[in-house]
Amino acid sequence: MLGLLGLPFGVFAPFAVWTGARSLRRIRAARGALSGETSALCGLVAGLLGLATLIAGAAYWFLAS
């Protein structure tokens, strides 16, 4: 959810990357005891996409303005 929120509201994107990566690490370390790997991965990807967009948009502003 945080990852999807990071797409229209870039401010959430860094938190989505952080929580997505942490969740994915814990799920994989649990060796099947924890579920939700797919949603954690999607959140991480969405967060990364949002973060990349945020950085690219901000970079454009500073370079082009």
Binding site: L4, P8, L41, T53, L54, G57, W61, S65
Partner: protein, 569 residues
């Protein structure tokens, strides 16, 4: 199973990304890289065609057919607007002033107390020209252009064309402005709501979803739940109302496509964000909407083809509506919150590959900025904006450069009692930043706090505006360069003494720098470093100095002399 969930999740991420910032950024960057369309030379008219020049690494600027920087000075009449008020709640209520051009052919109609503005007549254009104005921002209402869904008013269009004809006859350009105030006069009555201050959308395009019409911030007409809801529905193209708005602009575009007197179109006045937050409002809704209008008007395709009639995300372009206008300028105003903060409320993403774009700001520093609206501070001792009057201009230059647009101040104005502070402060910044203006407002009926250039009559009974306000005539009838080849030109007019000085550089063979001197200014003209001719165009009065550079720096000065105010003359 897990694979299917992964694919489904990936698709959701992809779809959400496409309709939000990643998609918007991608479309903007493609528009940035696409070569601009080529425009054929326009039919020659009395006034040269204007366009936007894009100097390498510099701020784009409005230019004439000889690539000279053109500064526009003008005012904004408001009597073609469709305001609400007593007896005007029905969509069928006729406008306060006739929209039939025939009613203005022989004489000017009497001003009405039902309007805050007197009717716009041919004499007004001559008065503007006599003040040295070279442009006019003509405000229109969607509710008069398309009173019934899908049916456009040819009569109102003829009335607009009549004003354009008057303007052409005195050498004044026209910016056609799709105006609105608090969305529409049809948002409904309620506590604190004075519909006499509302204009814009027709009844059928005002979708408030039953939200109560109530103003909750003292006398700020936009701070109304029904207005918020109506705007939100517009930005999300509820029931295809945005499609109708775009069709309305195309209706105007078809009429004026070959008319160089019309500079271009201001696509939406003071866009309020509704329930949307910045910067997403501008980056994902407002500027993509502008891109769609430009697509429709020019026939270029900067976004993806999308079905109309419903919400159009930022990646969507728009169908060619058959106007194929590749010469006029499009004036793009940022969201209303930028006006309140004097600070960018968007990322400045490129809007379109179409080159003739102008970012138009409203400069109401200390009038409608947060220091006044929230803290009610004295403008002389306000704690915001931190960068003073310069803040909005310096930041707007960066915004304009980022979206690849020229800059223009399409509104500024203030209570007449504050002219020496606010009006003088704004004009000084406009000189520093080489930016033109449209003053709000031309004429306004009523008392001493009306904002028009003209005062209330001495009797105080008639709604008709009286004489030119001396401070406004002194400040706004200015000496300024109308056109120059040096975009780094520096100049200053001293409204107290009537003195003017301009410094510029030019190469031999550059087209002349043209300086307008209104009749009020009587000082002697002196030119150094270039050849000059001074003419007195009989049509509008005043003087025009045309200076042809010989190569190198040159200067133009007007000596101090008592300013001859016309007042009631």
């Amino acid at each position: 199973m897990r694979r299917a969930a992964l694919v489904a999740g990936g698709l959701v991420v992809l779809v959400v990304a496409a309709v939000t910032y990643p998609g918007a950024l991608a479309v903007s960057m493609i528009a940035r890289l696409v070569p601009p369309p080529l425009a054929s030379a326009g039919q020659p008219g009395l006034l040269p065609w204007l366009h936007v020049e894009h100097p390498r690494n510099g701020l784009p600027y409005i230019a004439d057919d000889r690539a000279r920087l053109v500064l526009l000075h003008g005012a904004t009449p408001a009597s073609l607007l469709d305001f609400g008020g007593p007896g005007r709640s029905s969509p069928d209520a006729p406008p306060v002033y006739s929209i039939d051009p025939a009613d203005y052919a022989a004489r000017c109609p009497e001003p009405s107390a039902a309007s805050r503005y007197p009717p716009l007549c041919q004499a007004d254009l001559s008065q503007m020209a006599a003040l040295g104005f070279n442009s006019l921002r003509l405000t229109l209402s969607w509710s008069l252009l398309e009173p019934v869904r899908g049916q456009f008013s040819q009569l109102y269009l003829d009335r607009v064309a009549q004003v354009v004809d008057w303007a052409r006859s005195v050498g004044i350009y026209v910016i056609i402005d799709m105006h609105q105030n608090a969305y529409s006069r049809f948002v409904g009555p309620g506590k604190g709501v004075d519909l006499a201050y509302n204009s814009g959308a027709p009844d059928w395009a005002t979708i408030t979803d039953g939200m109560p019409s109530q103003v909750f911030l003292d006398s700020q007409r936009e701070a109304n739940l029904a207005v918020f809801q109506a705007f939100t529905n517009f930005w999300y193209n509820r029931s295809g109302i945005q499609d109708e708005y775009i069709a309305t602009i195309a209706f105007l575009g078809k009429r004026f496509k070959d008319d160089s007197t019309v500079i271009g179109y201001s696509l939406f006045n003071e866009p309020q964000n509704g329930w949307n937050l910045p910067p997403g409002f501008e980056d994902l809704l407002l500027f993509p909407f502008y891109r769609r209008v430009i697509d429709a008007m020019t026939g270029i395709h900067d976004g993806l083809p999308c079905p109309t009639g419903n919400f159009l995300p930022a990646i969507c372009g728009y169908a060619d509506l058959g106007v194929h206008d590749l010469r006029h300028l499009f004036f793009l105003e940022p969201g209303l919150l930028r006006q309140i903060t004097d600070f960018p409320t968007h990322l400045g993403l490129p809007v379109s590959s179409y080159p003739n774009l102008v970012l138009d700001i409203h400069a109401y520093t200390h009038g409608y900025t947060i220091d006044k609206l929230i803290f009610n501070q004295d403008p002389a001792h306000a704690s915001y904006p931190w960068g003073g009057y310069d803040q909005t201009y310096s930041l707007a230059e960066r915004e304009a450069k980022a979206i690849r647009a020229a800059l223009f101040v399409s509104e500024f104005g203030n209570d007449p009692n504050l002219d020496s502070l606010l009006l003088a402060g704004q004009l000084l910044e406009q000189e520093k930043h080489n930016v033109g203006f449209a003053f709000w407002t031309w004429k306004e009926n009523g008392g001493s706090h009306s904002w028009g250039m003209f005062d209330a009559p001495k009797t105080g009974v008639s709604p008709m505006p009286g004489c030119l306000r001396p401070a406004r005539e002194r400040l706004l009838a200015r000496v300024y360069p109308r056109a120059t080849s040096d975009r780094a030109v520096t100049y200053h007019y001293d409204a107290d003494t009537g003195a003017f000085n301009l410094s510029a550089n030019g190469r031999a063979g550059d087209p002349p720098t043209v300086v307008s001197i209104p009749p009020e200014v009587r000082g002697t003209v002196d030119v150094a470093g270039a050849e000059a001719t001074v003419t007195q165009p009989g049509l509008v009065g005043g003087r025009v100095v045309s200076v042809t550079p010989a190569g190198g720096p040159f200067s133009i000065t007007v000596a101090p002399a008592q300013i001859a105010l016309t007042g009631c003359g």
